[in-house]
């Protein structure tokens, strides 16, 4: 009996010690959550998370770094590129981030950065918010777990771009980090409609090239103006084995593209350096083509045409200062003073009406499109041949006929 009591007492003590140990660990962990900081300080102390960023001011790189807290960035797609983009902007102390994604974290994502295996099964936006809030509680977060290309979600998406910024303002910049053409076109459509600047980003399906493209509606080429640009990766299609897989991915290429994307976001928001319309990355050759992109006066997106008209009007009323003969070239961001770019130096003779300007070396279109003339002929043909199908049948009748087959 006494023996038994003694062993129970001993067990009790061991358990108490264990509880204390766990409580201490927990207390230590929650003490690590830093409190919110109201104003960014440039004081260099080890407790200031912004000291090295504010040093950019002291060095004369950025005039007003703390302005970053007034900006809202929307990130569409929180995968390999988007999550890293979100983390960089969070660490930089952005004012607010709005994240859109409908996917869940999977173990198959672990070759990329940011997400951890223990987050498997969580929605990407939910997992992101948890980690990001921990990294920097000063940032405001808003997350949406849905597919923006769906008819019943799109209007909400557009609404958040229009008024999801701080104090209900429009967001300052939209970043496209999606992995498919449909979503890019949906962002493009929305941004043309509401006149919202955005930056597109992408990594090729073979993981060895990537790009970013700045879209300022009416001023630069929109995503529907021409077939997507591809960075020539010097890989023979015949040797590229696509059997059995859709896409490959590398954390390196994705990290590099996210870096480009955030670098240009910071340059644009904080107004330092210059922002190139297109920046490509060829990983096989370490080659980085850049170029300016003009909008297509025959773009299929009707809002793109309206924005182009508005911009021409604006230019007529506010003629750009001397130098730049071509109004579409970097009016906002002044001249491009880097010597290393391959920006298209389109000769005057080529200023004719054309679907595609000369592309920088190492860039190509994903595919050709028929010329405007060809399209007109085709449309005429199909309207002629379709006359017979014009029967006065109701929608419901056709729907039940299809169902009854």
């Amino acid at each position: 009996m006494a023996n038994q009591t003694a062993s129970l007492i001993e067990e009790n003590q061991q358990l108490k010690a264990k509880i204390q140990e766990l409580e201490d660990a927990l207390a230590k962990k929650s003490a690590q959550h830093r409190v919110k900081i109201t104003t960014m300080s440039s004081e260099v102390v080890d407790s200031n998370p912004y000291s090295r960023l504010m040093a950019l001011k002291r060095m004369g790189i950025v005039k007003n770094y703390e302005d970053i807290r007034h900006y809202t960035v929307a990130i569409v797609g929180v995968g390999g590129v988007g999550s890293v983009t979100a983390e960089m902007l969070t660490r930089c102390g952005i004012g607010k981030l709005i994240l859109f994604d409908y996917d869940k974290v999977e173990l198959a994502n672990m070759n990329r950065l940011f997400f951890r295996p223990d987050q498997s099964g969580m929605s990407k936006v939910e997992a992101s918010e948890a980690t990001l809030r921990d990294i920097n509680p000063d940032v405001e977060f808003e997350t949406h777990n849905y597919n923006i290309t769906k008819v019943d979600k799109y209007d909400h998406f557009v609404g958040r771009i229009k008024s999801g910024g701080l104090q209900g303002k429009p967001v300052d910049l939209v970043l496209s980090c999606v992995d498919n053409f449909e979503a890019r076109m949906a962002i493009n459509m929305a941004c043309n409609e509401i006149n919202q600047m955005w930056i597109e980003s992408g990594v090729s399906e073979n993981a060895v090239s990537g790009h970013i493209q700045v879209v300022i509606p009416g001023q630069t080429s929109c995503f529907a103006c021409a077939p997507p640009l591809v960075v020539a990766d010097n890989i023979d299609e015949k040797t590229l084995k696509r059997e059995g897989v859709c896409a490959a991915s590398l954390p390196t290429t994705m990290g590099i593209v996210a870096g480009f994307l955030v670098q240009n976001t910071l340059k644009h928001l904080l107004q330092f350096g210059s922002v190139t319309h297109y920046l490509g990355y060829n990983a096989m050759k370490d080659y980085f083509p850049t170029m300016a992109l003009k909008p297509n006066p025959h773009c299929d997106d009707s809002f793109c045409l309206i924005r182009q008209e508005e911009y021409q009007q604006y230019l007529a009323e506010n003629p750009p200062e001397a130098e730049s003969e071509d109004p579409t070239e970097d009016v906002v961001h002044e001249s491009n003073e880097w010597g290393i770019t391959l920006v298209d130096e389109t000769p005057e003779s080529e200023k004719k009406e054309e679907l595609d300007p000369d592309l920088a070396k190492g860039l190509a279109r994903a595919y050709d499109m028929p010329s405007v003339e060809q399209v007109r002929i085709l449309v005429k043909d199909s309207t002629e041949s379709q006359q017979e199908t014009e029967e006065p049948v109701s929608l419901e009748e056709l729907q039940s006929r299809l169902k009854g087959l």
């Binding site: 008819v151 949906a186 459509m189 299929d300 309207t383 199908t389 049948v393 729907q399």
Partner: protein, 168 residues
């Protein structure tokens, strides 16, 4: 590239002419009618050629489509649910056809069971906006995908024949 048989199939599917998406209200109804006419004709053609391989129907608004598709391999019929949404960017971009029950079973799929299309599909679609519709997406996208993937999945034992399927 697109093979001769697919070309012939495509040529027999009525082309569409209304460039309107689900956000275009009245015009969308017109487009939807064209879609239905084109799909009905395509299914009828398939039946005539003893190559009937799918059935589709949609919600009232024509924004969400669902049905069955099947593929016969070694005299056995393999049937799958097929579904897709009409994106807001339609018909500028093709619908992303999905076979949810095969999600995770093959690398030739994106998340949610969306089938991986060939490099030729998107350029072909882009060049034929607004003339291509759902029927063309089925003929050019899902048809060839099933023909390549199903025999492979069966050989690997990843999918097995179910005793009795509901249709037929």
């Amino acid at each position: 590239m697109v093979d001769e048989a697919t070309k012939r199939t495509l040529a027999a599917i009525p082309l569409l002419k209304t460039r309107a998406g689900p956000r275009d209200k009245d015009q969308w109804v017109g487009r939807l009618k064209e879609e239905l006419v084109s799909l009905i004709k395509y299914v009828e053609n398939n039946k005539k050629q003893d190559n009937d391989w799918f059935r589709l129907e949609s919600n009232k608004e024509g924004t969400r489509w669902f049905g069955k598709c099947w593929y016969v391999h070694n005299l056995l019929k393999y049937e799958f649910d097929v579904e897709f949404d009409i994106p807001v960017t339609y018909p500028g971009t093709a619908p992303e056809i999905a076979l949810p029950e095969l999600d995770g079973k093959t690398a030739k799929m994106y998340r949610g069971g969306k089938i991986c299309l060939t490099d030729h599909f998107k350029p072909l679609w882009a060049r034929n906006v607004p003339k291509f519709g759902i029927a063309h997406a089925m003929a050019l996208g899902l048809g060839p995908w099933l023909a390549v993937e199903i025999p492979d999945l069966v050989e690997k034992g990843i999918i097995v024949h179910k005793e009795k399927t509901s249709s037929e």
